[in-house]
């Protein structure tokens, strides 16, 4: 049962992830965005199988529920007919492949070095929060500052456009 569900969600995540990047049937940006939503939901299913309910809920809430809705909002506001017709050039393909393999290598290395997951991430929200504010305080603060910088940047850019 557990294994079946794992393979089901993993296959769903990979398939819809692939369909985001290369969809032979449609070049419609909305279709791609919707497959990305499906991939997010499948990932959240995988988190549930690992008993990481908090992460699963956050995955749906933040990525599927908020980020992707904003993507759709932008896609619908701008007329993206142009991008449907555009072909991928050789330069872009090489650059993209290089970026993907670089990121993949980084991820693989990190995964091999990482210790086995702690029980705290699986347990209650309280334990997760405590861990974030003690053991992982430094990365947590860096991410917070990064988000703040991004927020200030967005406000600066949109202000300049309004003037």
């Amino acid at each position: 049962m557990h294994a079946t569900l794992f393979y089901l969600f993993a296959a769903l995540a990979l398939m819809s992830g692939l369909l985001v990047a290369f969809n032979p049937f449609s070049r419609n940006p909305v279709t791609r965005a919707m497959f990305l939503v499906l991939a997010m939901i499948a990932l959240s299913g995988l988190f549930v199988l690992l008993h990481a309910y908090f992460l699963a809920a956050i995955q749906v809430l933040v990525y599927a529920g908020a980020v992707m809705v904003l993507f759709l909002f932008v896609i619908m506001l701008m007329d993206l007919r142009e991008s449907e017709r555009r072909r991928v050039g050789a330069f872009a393909a090489v650059l993209g492949l290089a970026a993907v393999s670089g990121l993949g290598a980084l991820l693989f290395g990190a995964l091999r070095q990482a210790p086995a997951g702690t029980e705290a991430a699986v347990g209650s929200t309280r334990d997760l929060g405590r861990l974030l504010f003690t053991q992982h305080l430094f990365p947590f603060e860096i991410v917070s500052v990064l988000l703040l910088v991004a927020m200030v940047g967005v406000i600066m850019l949109s202000q300049r456009e309004a003037e």
Binding site: S44, Y53, F54, A57, V60, A64, G65, V69, F73, M76
Partner: protein, 362 residues
């Protein structure tokens, strides 16, 4: 008979019992409670609007094939037959796949939300909640945040200007008010100290209901709930005076009915959530109803208490719809971002400060 059932149940393994009772609870809760509640809230909407506007409203349909008119309570049957038999027209210019997908996506999240709502204490040995998650509230917010897709996809699939505007408005509105809604419940969980909805009810059974302890949180949650369910005064996605019918302009027959029912199912879900978070869930501070039931009768009574509270809140939703005019779009955004979000943040800081002060004192 009862002995036979008891023996048959005792013969099953724990996992089989869980599956059996889970399925039973889902079937009964959805088909015997929620869908009739949705059908009758449509009648209630029409009758209450009629009273408010000094009309009579639908009072004719009673028991089919007889002359008995039970105050128009047969109306859902007539409405159901009507939407099923109407022509299901698909305009030529729509994007067909999304046009079919959107009504389904609109209906599903509202029903999924109910999975974590504890709608009663216990019946026999079975807890009256389908899935007792330790992150119950986050699950409901996650699922509610998916409900916007039904509207956005409908707007996109219709491929014409008014539905598209409705869809765009809905996506911006729902994201904005989701933030206010999410922030407004944080003080509740600061007080309770747990994200599990059963624990929230247990906390309220031991003292005052949270609506009295956190009136500001409740007010923000209520306003955001109107926006999240696309009800007047915030039904910008529909807004029939500007956008014809908004996102469902191009829909007819059962597909339109699914949007319509989805809206009412979302109202049931959000009312149930408010009952759990702010009105003590299935508890009532009289006659020992605050404790989990020890007999079947009390268990059923507690479910009835829960349903009664949900129905009162549904009536408030309907009442407000016919009393307040629609907001303008910029007013809606201003209220969400410049009033509700800062207020909710201040409420969190104030609650945390009071709790900290109390913990240092003792």
């Amino acid at each position: 008979m009862i002995d036979w059932i008891n023996n048959a149940i005792a013969g099953l393994s724990a996992q089989e019992q869980f599956a059996l009772f889970g399925l039973l609870k889902i079937l009964v809760a959805v088909f015997a409670i929620v869908l009739p509640l949705v059908a009758y809230s449509v009648v209630a909407e029409r009758r209450i609007s009629a009273w408010i506007q000094d009309r009579v409203g639908p009072n004719r349909v009673g028991i089919p094939f007889t002359n008995v008119r039970v105050w128009g309570l047969g109306q859902p049957l007539a409405d159901g037959v009507k939407v099923l038999l109407k022509e299901d027209f698909t305009p030529a210019h729509v994007r067909t796949a999304y046009f079919w997908l959107a009504p389904m996506v609109a209906m599903v999240p509202a029903l999924l939300t109910l999975a974590v709502i504890p709608f009663g204490s216990v019946l026999g040995a079975q807890p009256m909640v389908m899935a007792d998650l330790n992150v119950g509230i986050l699950y409901t917010f996650g699922i509610t945040s998916l409900s916007v897709y039904g509207i956005v996809l409908a707007g996109y699939a219709s491929n014409s200007k008014y539905p598209l505007l409705g869809g765009i408005r809905a996506s911006a509105q729902m994201i904005s008010y989701e933030i206010a809604m999410g922030l407004s419940v944080i003080p509740v969980f600061l007080l309770v100290g747990d994200l599990n909805l059963g624990q929230v009810i247990a906390y309220q059974a031991g003292g005052a209901w949270l609506v009295f302890k956190q009136p500001l949180a409740f007010a923000i949650f209520l306003i955001a709930a109107f926006a999240e369910t696309n009800r007047l005064p915030f039904d910008m996605a529909e807004s029939e005076s500007e956008l014809v019918g908004g996102y469902h302009t191009e829909y007819s027959s059962m597909k339109f009915a699914l949007f319509f029912l989805g809206e009412y199912a979302a109202m049931v879900a959000v009312s149930a959530m408010m009952v759990v978070l702010f009105f003590g869930g299935w508890t009532l501070p009289v006659a020992g109803l605050n404790q989990p039931a020890t007999s079947l009768g009390v268990g059923v009574l507690q479910i009835a208490v829960f349903l009664a509270k949900v129905i009162v809140l549904m009536a408030v939703f309907i009442w407000v719809r016919w009393m307040l005019p629609r907001f303008r779009y910029d007013q809606l955004m201003q209220l969400g971002w410049k009033r509700l979000v800062p207020l909710a943040l201040a409420n969190i800081v104030a609650t945390a400060a009071v709790l900290f002060w109390q913990s240092t004192k003792s």
